[in-house]
Assembly symmetry: C2
Homo-oligomer: 322 residues x 2
């Protein structure tokens, strides 16, 4: 995504973000520096800082402060990823060995904490309290979403609304917050700031549903993890919730989930139930609904290049297969 | 410590801190609320907020802002404790089941992140960037100290200076920062603020060395963990570093450490080497040196009750046996 045309407007800024990321994580403690550099270089789509920078483009704020906020956003994202990998006991992410696999859980938990601290330190240095509060709220929200996910694992009695609540906290609030901070940096009106927040929220919902679909449709090569990983872990995502409603095989899927310890045959059967129930198609229809919502809420005051880029970003989320 | 006479000056403030702690961690996510309440009620000495509040007593700042900072300090301390317990895989702390033992590592990592976020959110709401940066730097420093501790575990070739560097980052910088923030809240001069920082640093060094001594001298009942826990985990503390220098049995201790997997006989032997080499006495002499330093650096401008309380606090650290 970083090299895509969508981000042409912010390519220069994103290059500064990469350089600054590597600079702020410097520490004489070699192991911590190694882990942090690993996390930075493992890359990722830089979706959140890119969205922030795009929204901020609407205004005339100084480049320096913008880069700090974008870096803080990505540091927080990196911190949550390294903690997620510890939580999931994941061996690889995007095909690369995770920090916990290379350096152990202990060092990984601490590295995440360190990245959180660096993020807050950077933004505090710029004296921007509104941004600080949004960042803190984003973290609180993510923790709430992740805890509910743990609590409700292997519980087949979750409604579609429960699912949307959970992924809003886990994912969409962060992406909404990134757009909101961009609007604030750009000095936009309260109404337009809210509109960009709502755009980010809808984009984030579409993004997470797509992620949850890809867990059923992607190969190890594309996602860096085997298909059906969520089902195996008892994470009840939209495709599963839809398939559980299926008259023919919903009950069978329910029994597989309640078994908790799935063998390969259970998992294969679960995957085929989800595929045969039309649950992938249904989930994509919800992605489309959120992406339409994202487009519809864009404020009229946006200048044309920013609007075009935000529309393209929504289109990208609908098409991604990794 | 909370009920001790030392804190008579700040008892009222500490009561507000307790109430506010329970209030800020409120969340509709029940499991997260349960863990946070458990961590708050597990208590602890509240040393850091008490020190902050005592130093702040020198000035006339509004009570409201002070309480927020004190709460943020304790939230950060609680967050690091819950992450430490995950890292150490600890089953109990102060005789009470740890969060990770009750709710699992996953939820515990997330709870720590949540408490960090709440701490930053509180201080950002008050618009105090200097305090925010100090808090962020405290976390970075602790992470560095803890990572070095992991990296250097089972390495008998650590000098006394290495040890002091490590515990400065792990513990003393936080206590120094608490005193510094108090001085800043009180509006003290730069020189006096630095002096209180130095007092906190020396107090913190004495506090951690005492902790490391107690690991050899305390029973399960007093510390909530078996004696020799550090040795077993390969954490090379001051008593061990001193005993490793012993001409008679230093080499034997070295071999035990390098074995890494210690059986009960190894551990017993290691403990007795530390006791027989006079390493406990030596370590207490270093506690005394730091406590003297703490007393010596107190600024002349302090009003008498604050000075008396800070001296009493230093005396307490020298005498504690839990």
């Amino acid at each position: 995504m970083r090299n895509s045309s969508i981000f042409a407007m912010v390519t220069g800024d994103l290059t500064l973000v990469e350089a600054e990321l590597l600079s702020v994580i410097q520490t004489p403690v070699q192991m911590l520096a190694d882990i942090s550099v690993h996390l930075t270089k493992a890359g990722g789509k830089r979706l959140r800082p890119a969205l922030y920078l795009l929204c901020a483009k609407q205004g005339l704020s100084s480049s320096n402060d913008k880069i700090s906020v974008a870096v803080a956003i990505e540091l927080i994202h990196m911190a949550t990823l390294v903690h997620d990998d510890v939580i999931d006991n994941a061996a690889t992410r995007r095909g690369i060995a995770t920090a916990n696999a290379q350096w152990g859980n202990h060092a990984s938990v601490l590295s995440g904490d360190y990245l959180f601290a660096k993020a807050f330190s950077m933004v505090a240095a710029k004296g921007n309290n509104e941004i600080l509060r949004i960042l803190a709220d984003i973290i609180s929200s993510m923790c709430e979403g992740e805890i509910v996910q743990i609590k409700e694992s292997f519980n087949p009695d979750q409604s579609e609304a429960d699912y949307y609540d959970r992924i809003a906290k886990k994912t969409a609030d962060f992406i909404a917050g990134s757009a909101r901070m961009g609007a604030i940096t750009a000095g936009m009106s309260a109404a337009d700031t809210q509109a960009l927040h709502d755009y980010g929220y809808a984009l984030g919902m579409a993004f997470q549903i797509t992620d949850d679909i890809l867990d059923f449709t992607s190969s190890v090569q594309q996602m860096g993890k085997p298909a059906g990983n969520d089902l195996r872990q008892g994470i009840i995502t939209l495709p599963i919730i839809h398939a559980l409603r299926d008259r023919t095989s919903g009950q069978q899927l329910r029994e597989i989930i309640l078994r908790r310890q799935m063998n390969e045959a259970d998992l294969e059967q679960g995957l085929s139930i989800v595929h045969n129930a039309g649950s992938i198609e249904y989930s994509y229809s919800q992605v489309a609904r959120y992406l339409q919502q994202a487009q519809d809420v864009l404020p009229r005051s946006l200048n044309e290049p920013v609007r075009a880029a935000l529309l393209e970003m929504a289109a990208f989320v609908g098409k991604r297969n990794y």
